[in-house]
Symmetry: C2
Subunit: 276 residues, 2 copies
């Protein structure tokens, strides 16, 4: 496994890669969710490239960019068995002085995370666009946990005719159902215990749907009641949306994305499930 | 020479091109300016791709998208001797329903053409980004006549780490000095005769500069006086700007871009010169 810190060297390395290249962009502080993507990339490609870059432009001014957890040594040890190249550029390498170009997906970024975190997805699409141009992956791997991010990146790739296939992998969960996330590390033991309520609320939605419930108002009310029983959690939003447009729907017809953001102290957790 | 009308076929053709690919994106209605780019592309590459696409998103609602001159038959005949592939997609092929992704260069697009034509450069960078992703050119060729466009595209390519080299070619001129442009065809004989005033004003700036004049105010005033002697021309702007930032400057130090837009009836002509 080779660690590369600048774009020129990454390009050079890319030029001599034979066959398909699988790419997993990450912000580091890896967990089993990331590793599942890397393993999948290794199964499906001759060469695996993982990037570690905590992207400043996708954090709002009041968000946790500075405190975002970092542990490069541990990350590299976790990647070693499955990875050929770790691309680990500095902030200045990605955003040099006078950097001024932005890639923006409109429409589906108006809802959910996009509504609560203005500018977030512009930062995501811009950095992913750059990384795709630098790494030129045959396939790139993203986790379903960030459902809207996946939809936004797929839309960018399709709209801009980018030459990579976006592969979406299932959300990895802790034993009690909590979706794996680097931000789980912020939780104190009580919050960690309470955080399982996101998963429970999703399972409730699934159960209601299986019993024939199609009214999103009823579903949202029951989920809200369940989460409000957890005293440490504060609901940011609970959404039942069209899986294509991400607009809220009143009645579920074919495919719906049930997603939510819940805060535990300053820590904001997200999770989702597809109903079909 | 092969004419390709859809993205899938263009991609297929691209995959089997050996060696370097030179690309000239155009809006058609070609003149010797375009052909000079195509010839340069042929000199420097194994394969030459020219696109013809009148890009709707770079025209403002009150601009000349619908009336923009088109003559495909003539274009193809002009390209034949120097071109391997003409990529000629439909509007729907480039902007399918629900298209929603935009590439935007900030900063340098605030001035000159960007100030007068809001949204123009967002349309240009978006379509050029898409075309670069579809054609994957080794080198792409643009004319210096659209000086700000060249600066904006270079900035996009650098900022987004795109894998193409932008080659800028000199402005081609009619015998009397008028910069070649597809829009010259809009001019009636009197306007066409008067239009040479743009070139004369640029030559005046060059002369003043050669004589030691460095005050942009003086220069602009003399150029304005000259153009105002031409009764059919209406000045849109005359700019003396830093060639890097495109911000107006008071005194010329190293490199300056002298540019202007002048209207003849409804026809808006632009031209520029570099002073160094």
């Amino acid at each position: 496994m080779k660690v590369i810190e600048n774009i020129t060297d990454m390009r050079k390395a890319r030029k001599i890669m034979p066959g398909s290249v699988g790419f997993v962009p990450t912000m580091g502080y890896l967990h089993e969710g990331h590793i599942s993507l890397v393993k999948r990339a290794k199964d499906e490609n001759l060469t695996v490239v993982v990037s570690i870059f905590v992207n400043p432009t996708q954090f709002g001014p009041k968000e946790d960019f500075k405190s975002y957890p970092r542990d490069i040594k541990r990350d590299l040890a976790m990647l070693e068995p499955f990875t050929d190249i770790v691309f680990m550029p500095s902030d200045k390498e990605i955003y040099p002085e006078k950097y001024d170009t932005w890639v923006e997906v409109k429409g589906i970024t108006d809802y959910l995370e996009g509504a609560v975190r203005p500018g977030h997805f512009r930062g995501v699409t811009t950095v992913v666009n750059k990384l795709f141009n630098i790494v030129e992956p045959t396939k790139s791997y993203f986790g379903q946990k960030d459902a809207q991010q996946v939809a936004v990146i797929k839309k960018m790739v399709a709209d801009l005719n980018m030459n990579t296939e976006v592969v979406v992998c299932p959300t990895m969960r802790e034993k009690d159902g909590l979706a794996m996330s680097s931000r789980n590390t912020y939780l104190n033991p009580e919050q960690r215990q309470g955080a399982v309520v996101l998963y429970r609320a999703l399972m409730l939605a699934k159960e209601l749907f299986a019993k024939g419930e199609r009214d999103s108002g009823v579903m949202r009310r029951e989920m809200t009641e369940l989460i409000e029983k957890e005293p440490l959690g504060n609901i940011d939003y609970i959404s039942i949306a069209d899986a294509g447009t991400l607009k809220e729907i009143h009645r579920i017809k074919t495919l719906a994305l049930v997603s939510m953001a819940v805060k535990f102290g300053k820590t904001r957790l997200i999770d989702n499930i597809m109903l079909e």
